[in-house]
Symmetry: C2
Subunit: 731 residues, 2 copies
């Protein structure tokens, strides 16, 4: 019986000694070996014929060994990547980011696996029998009196059934797509939420939300429609060999709209580029990942009533929108609730005496968000993101100093490993994935579409946002955002999740190429682009660790480094200066939207004091009639240190001081004569303080007369932590 | 067709909509949902009938949701455990260890699941077809034109096939035994190796090896033979309903010989009990885990040629011994080699500038040991143990300060989570495991056998060891070691690995009960036992962290706390005092076996300088003709800091000073007049220094006249890190 005939022959089944998929079997399953071992262990007890069991066991052990080798390949790839990254950082090479490097190594190994190994065929045994009309999650198979349990792995496209003869090793390194969603993405996304610099994030919250929600939707629809045009063109030209519907195009728009400017942001971090631009890009990319996940599943849920899937069905459309809103808000709630519960637990117990327990609790609670959301039918990854943000905003303040660094480091390592694993897998997948569909027309169309989609997303939105923003998003920022439309892990994970149909395979291939192109080209071009767009670098934020031994790394590309003194930890100084609420509310009004102001004062007056040890005592903010409750909820520490925030929190908590004082904010100009400037004047290093930061902004935007001499300037980036160089001027 | 008939009907197969196993599907698989989603995503593209797909998808999502709920149960259990541990530590309750607590919570939830939930039946669909005579690792099943891939999960005992009607939830919380071996044990074992206090470990190396190898073998054979007697008895009485061979008994002896005195050691740690006793117990338990694994697989490999498995087959026996030696030495080599490679990489790159990269590399290399060993057919868990020891001995010295704490904390958290997960799972398994075989005779016999086995292991070995040891193992130490024969995670993991046959199920149930009993009773009885046996507590080792702000917590139960001053960081002082090699070799001779001395000097003169930044320069230790090589391998740091060891290493590197100076060692008496004592005389706190520690030893052994007043003394343990109390005397 030909496997291909199976579809026509009706119910039937085929069994092969396909090697089990990589990570699954190795990490958790090893089912086959277990089964073989079971037969072997039981051999003494059951006087059955041992020969075939031994054969099965041998085969199982061989398979297990191959699994280990495949995973070892990945680990060696990562090790190699780490060593090369070190070399690059050591030599201050910045044209290639670690993710790009991981992809290159993946590619090389992929080529070796593809062309270097012989195409050993699996033991192809094809058997048939009758079965009912549906798939079961578990099969029990009786083999000469022994029962074996099989678990459903997933559907296989009929085409793949024919490819049994393909290379064993290639199949081994191609593992379950859901691994990306359930193992690798959560730590990446949680870390993104947990390490969000809330000060700047919240200051630009409105714009970030607009970019993430509106922008992603716009981008999705524009790309979807453009691609539909491309697909129509392909049909006319005769390049398309299978079905490709409008919903497929929209789905492609959704998955490819998840930007992931990891390389750009890494360089921003190294160069200490403009914090607001950083916040805009980072915030957008974090949130649009969530939007893209939910959007893609809503598009999948868009199933018009009839079989004609072209027609627009209003009911189905609104159902999709409803699903989008439902999943998004549900996931958001899950994440926030778990974060709040963790904050309450860490506040009202003295768990901070035992950092190990505290860290373990933190980890478990954060993980439970994922499970809780999945259990309720929401999206775990999205919930984890908001959990991370909540944990950083509230729980972090309750943790002991050791737990703070522990949790940060733990998720940093997990994030690092997961991200580099995904990128090296991407490199590998280009050669080892079995069902690539390279369609030049589609690929070129996709590149044009994502460019246009990004443009249609950034420029009009920025225009409208600038109408409302006091601190305008300049042209150079807009160009930089346009330029930073990289695609990364999320687009890949969404694309690989389903590669069953022809259309999906074409999308997957295209997505892979887009990720390669954007990571390599845009990643390498970031430094010249920053210089060309005249975006300030060398702005360092006062962070928890180096609050004490601060050395300013300040230089603007092509501009005298002494011209623009950076902000010192004045935010903290001012914060102590005007601790009273009345003085604050006054200033907030001038700059923030009322909704944000409302949220902010609610957060500051009620949520912070309830959930953390900081903020004003509840007894002063709550009405008198709930005095008892207020006393119960307020932690004794609050009364002791009336200065509302502890020093370590300054980077993590949104405060009034933060809102007004960060450098480059036009608000400072509006309140130019406030006490804040007095504070920032007292800077170390003898640098001249500009009285109006708007001047700086203008110079940023318009007069680029000093720029000519600055092209090609060599940027020296500060080494991390241990080797912190003194301030250097560009040569 | 009845599922039970399948065995008689010959080849055939049964399929049920069994919910997929817990962790597997949830963490990595989600295969069914993936498949369902695939059908759903593809629905627009393929105009197929969508109804049955929707039904499958619904079911898949339901199953996935249930999976999430099950895992959530475990996470909530762990969270509850953590909170209660905190409460216990906070209130200084010491009769129940966290592992015991985790088991209790597991038990409670197990009872609720067992009796509180209704026995919902799975969708029982039983189908049959012909199949070949062997099991395949993967099945392809064709369901109305769609192909579904199934992966072999393992063999199911025929009895289990009948239990389809059993509770879904119970089945859900019972997950793949290999998870314990491949996910949960490695971090536990690695952490044990990595956190080994090498100073005391190496000083007692000979005894530890004897206990671990000889002792475990003796214990295994004694328990095995005793149990064989019990089994014979059961056969006579008619209590045994199925086969139970001699090899099964030996297997039981092997799995139950893996001691895991986690609760005892935790209390030792809290009370700072005698370090040598700690080293003996800890070292033995770490190594005998490895011995037990390898021993059990060797026994399984013992397959006599004929079918009469009772007969002793010399060839098979020697084959088993050969397998034991092969697997053990292979795993050892794997672990050591990976550790050495990591040490070289961290030494010759400047990776320590980037702690994140360093930590990631360290983690990956340690993990690759596991895979490498598995790929080569050795035991990953054993390899990981020796890798941990090597990493701590060499690589740790090359790491940056941040990476040191990062790696320690990372593995500490992983260890903590894995251990508590296993113990709470044990509690759960007592009620949710479906195939318990409670045999009172067997259980009572097993309790007697492990008691006798432990006694036959400890006392004779100690007697022989004492013939060779200068620092004798006292009677109270021997009793304490006898008492500390707890069984824990390793015995459980070995027992649950295969529960297919009747004999194995009986073993599993018995093992579970032994673990419960020993952890609760012995764990709770440790503090009274220490007091009763008059073992000194309150001995604190100078550790890296609190080298500076040292406050001695010293009290001996029932003895004036000022009587025996503890060792200060004199090991370091002396170390600087006699840095020359000649002075050292001299002293070493008097106390160590020649083999150990040989190893030590080789390690100190060649391995340390090659692999780390410490030790004497190679140019001085290697012969002149390899001068160039020596210069290449010696790190420049060595020449700079001629004091051979850095302060932070003192706890981690075996040095001469450590060998001679730790308190209570009779060697100090032998060299009583050496400079070391002058150093230790200058102790803070005005405590009187005993000139001869042998006196202390004697008092420990014999004259217990002060003991009467000391029973029931309340011990106050020092809170960890943050809340360090000043020295307290017993009330």
């Amino acid at each position: 019986m030909e496997p291909g005939d199976a579809a026509r022959l009706g119910p039937g089944w085929a069994a092969r000694a396909l090697p089990p998929r990589l990570l699954l079997m190795l990490l958790l399953g090893r089912g086959l070996r277990g089964a073989a071992a079971a037969s072997s262990y039981g051999a003494a007890a059951e006087d059955s014929s041992a020969m075939e069991e031994l054969a099965t066991e041998k085969e199982a052990e061989e398979s297990h060994r191959q699994d280990s080798v495949s995973l070892l390949t990945f680990i060696l790839l990562l090790t190699l990547t780490i060593l090369t990254i070190w070399l690059f950082k050591h030599r201050r090479v910045r044209f290639l980011h670690e993710t790009g490097l991981a992809m290159i190594y993946g590619l090389i190994v992929g080529v070796i696996l593809r062309y270097g190994t012989t195409a050993t065929s699996g033991h192809d045994k094809s058997l048939s029998c009758t079965q009912e009309d549906r798939a079961f999650s578990t099969l029990l198979v009786n083999v000469s009196g022994k029962f074996f349990e099989y678990t459903l792995k997933g559907e296989i496209s009929p085409g793949k059934v024919n490819s049994v003869e393909q290379n064993d090793m290639l199949r081994k390194v191609t593992f379950d797509p859901e691994v990306f969603f359930n193992i690798l993405l959560p730590p990446i996304i949680f870390h993104a939420g947990y390490s969000l610099k809330k000060r700047h994030f919240f200051r630009n919250l409105g714009s970030i939300l607009a970019y993430a929600f509106l922008g992603t939707a716009v981008s999705c629809f524009i790309i979807g429609n453009l691609m539909y045009g491309v697909v129509k063109l392909m049909k006319i030209v005769g390049q398309l060999s299978d079905k490709f519907y409008y919903t497929d195009c929209l789905f492609f728009g959704a998955i490819i709209s998840a930007t992931d400017p990891v390389t750009v942001l890494a360089i921003f971090n190294e160069l200490h580029a403009d914090v607001d631009l950083y916040a805009l890009l980072f915030g957008e990319s974090v949130l649009n990942d969530a939007v893209a996940i939910v959007l893609s599943s809503s598009i999948v849920a868009y199933q018009p009533a009839g079989l004609n899937t072209h027609a627009f069905d209003a009911a189905a459309f609104f159902k999709s929108v409803g699903i989008f809103l439902g999943i998004f808000s549900g996931s958001f709630t899950m994440g926030a609730v778990t974060g709040v519960v963790t904050a309450l637990v860490t506040k009202f117990t003295k768990l901070h005496c035992f950092p190990l327990l505290e860290t373990a609790l933190f980890f478990l609670m954060s993980w439970s968000t994922f499970l809780l959301a999945e259990a309720c039918g929401f999206t775990g990854v999205v919930a984890v993101l908001f959990c991370g943000i909540t944990q950083a905003h509230y729980t972090y303040n309750n943790l002991s100093v050791e737990s703070r660094s522990r949790t940060k480091q733990l998720f940093e390592v997990l994030h690092f490993l997961a991200e580099n694993f995904i990128f090296s897998y991407m490199g590998l997948a280009l050669f080892t994935f079995q069902k690539h569909v390279f369609s030049p027309v589609f690929i070129i169309g996709a590149f044009v579409a994502i460019f246009l989609g990004r443009a249609a997303h950034i420029y009009p939105l920025s225009f409208f946002l600038n109408l409302g923003r006091r601190h305008k998003i300049g042209w150079n920022f807009q160009h930089m955002m346009m330029f930073s439309g990289l695609r990364g892990a999320m687009a890949f994970a969404l694309a690989i999740r389903d590669t069953a149909s022809y259309a999906r395979q074409m999308m997957f291939t295209t997505t892979l190429l887009i990720v390669f192109f954007t990571v390599w080209i845009i990643g390498g071009g970031t430094t010249p682009m920053l210089s060309w767009l005249n975006i300030r670098v060398g702005i360092e934020e006062p962070s928890e660790e180096d609050q004490n031994e601060h050395r300013w790394q300040y230089f603007r590309v092509g501009v005298d480094p002494d011209q623009d003194p950076p902000p010192n930890n004045d935010s903290f100084q001012v914060l102590q200066g005007d601790g009273s609420d009345s003085a604050r509310g006054n200033r907030t009004k001038q700059e923030s939207a009322w909704l944000f102001r409302l949220w902010y004062s609610f957060d500051h007056n009620y949520l912070k004091p309830i959930l953390t040890h900081s903020g004003p005592p509840l007894t002063t903010t709550l009405p008198a009639w709930c005095g008892l409750l207020a006393q119960c909820l307020t932690s004794p520490q609050v009364y002791e240190n009336q200065e509302p925030l502890r020093e370590e929190d300054s980077d993590f908590i949104l405060t009034e001081g933060d809102l007004t004082l960060t450098f480059g904010d036009s608000t400072v100009t509006a309140n130019g004569s406030s006490g804040s400037h007095t504070a920032s004047m007292s800077l170390e290093g003898g640098r001249r303080m500009k009285s109006s930061s708007e001047e700086v902004l203008e110079r940023d935007l318009g007069m680029g007369d000093q720029k000519v001499s600055s092209r090609g300037t060599r940027l020296v980036f500060p080494l991390e932590d241990n080797v912190r160089l003194p301030a250097q001027s560009p040569e």
